[in-house]
């Protein structure tokens, strides 16, 4: 098949043999090892755990290690590029700093009150808040949602689905002590209120999470806080 790979200089065409159960990561690895060793790309685990091999495949952000060529090939051709909405370092490698800095800006760090001298905080797994946290907690920070998000493309300050989803899981965490500060950090033009609910993040998330639901939850919590005069 023909594979068009986005390099710094533009798209470069390669001819790659097809194999059964071949993934897009296999294709990129074949190109780098057998055709052009100067190709830069990033991967680690190869089994969908680390999230570092995310790229744009035929215009769609995906984990290349979990994407079979059979599922995405069109007319015996593939187009592979770096994730969108992130600066490119080289070829298929993006600079993820801004993506993770936004997690910090969304106050993505847990802030508990207990010390090691206190007893464990017992959280009931069936409690409504914990159920909501559980449904969104498995994010591994691959950046697929961020690359899929239209609002990030239009508004570079927008915190993005992953950072807002992280904030949501902390707002709903009953052990956390920073609720109002968190809501302030994610309100306004750079935060949850800019989300248009296009749901591209939810559509593309390889973990099948719904950042959209989390962002809607943040809007709800902020509205409640405003009504109660706690914002």
């Amino acid at each position: 098949m023909k594979v068009f790979v986005k390099r710094n200089s533009g798209f470069q065409e390669f001819e790659v043999p097809r194999h059964p159960s071949q993934t897009v990561l296999d294709v990129v690895t074949y190109i780098q090892r057998s055709l052009d060793p100067t190709l830069a790309y990033r991967y680690a685990c190869r089994v969908g755990m680390c999230g570092s091999c995310a790229m744009t495949v035929n215009g769609v952000p995906r984990w290349t290690c979990r994407t079979h060529v059979d599922r995405v090939v069109r007319n015996d051709a593939l187009e592979v590029g770096p994730l969108k909405n992130l600066p490119v370092i080289r070829d298929l490698v993006t600079d993820m700093r801004e993506f993770f800095d936004k997690w910090a800006r969304a106050r993505g760090q847990f802030a508990g009150e207990r010390t090691k001298r206190d007893d464990f905080h017992k959280v009931k797994p069936s409690s409504s808040d914990r159920v909501q946290v559980d449904s969104n907690i498995e994010c591994i920070g691959c950046g697929v949602c961020y690359a899929a998000c239209d609002v990030v493309a239009w508004n570079p300050d927008y915190l993005g689905p992953a950072a807002l989803n992280r904030a949501w899981t902390l707002v709903k965490d009953e052990r956390d002590s920073l609720k109002t500060e968190r809501l302030r950090a994610v309100a306004g033009d750079a935060g949850c209120h800019s989300c248009h609910t296009h749901m591209s993040c939810t559509e593309r998330c390889p973990k099948h999470l719904s950042p959209t639901a989390g962002i809607a939850g943040l809007k709800r919590e902020i509205t409640k806080a405003v009504v109660r005069g706690k914002f």
């Binding site: 609002v151 239009w154 508004n155 309100a187 033009d189 209120h193 800019s194 809007k219 902020i222 509205t223 405003v226």
Partner: protein, 105 residues
């Protein structure tokens, strides 16, 4: 909170637009003339109140929506945009109330 104002005014508009459209269809089907319509609206405080609420909701809703459109489509942010949109809100309020009062008095 602009977002809350936007959502609340949208809820009001959903009702107002439905009533407004229903009234237009009713007036057209009934074959009412302009004079007959004016006869019913003149001095009717209920219609004045309804259209005042309608105008207020549009005055709140439209500029906040345009604020995002300008930011995302034109990259126009900051004070200049907000000043222009505040003036636009005043223009809508003035034109809308002028029309509402026009059929009342």
């Amino acid at each position: 909170m602009l977002w809350i104002a936007q959502r609340a005014s949208a809820a009001v508009l959903a009702l107002c637009v439905a009533v407004h459209l229903a009234m237009i269809i009713y007036a057209v089907q009934g074959g009412l003339t302009a004079a007959e319509i004016l006869e019913r609206t003149r001095g009717n405080a209920g219609w004045l109140a309804f259209y005042s609420v309608f105008v207020l909701a549009v005055t709140i809703h439209a500029p906040i929506g345009l604020r995002s459109v300008f930011a995302e489509w034109l990259g126009w942010r900051g004070r200049s945009r907000d000043v222009v949109l505040s003036l636009f809100a005043l223009l809508i309020a003035w034109m809308g109330m002028r029309a509402a009062l026009g059929v009342f008095a």
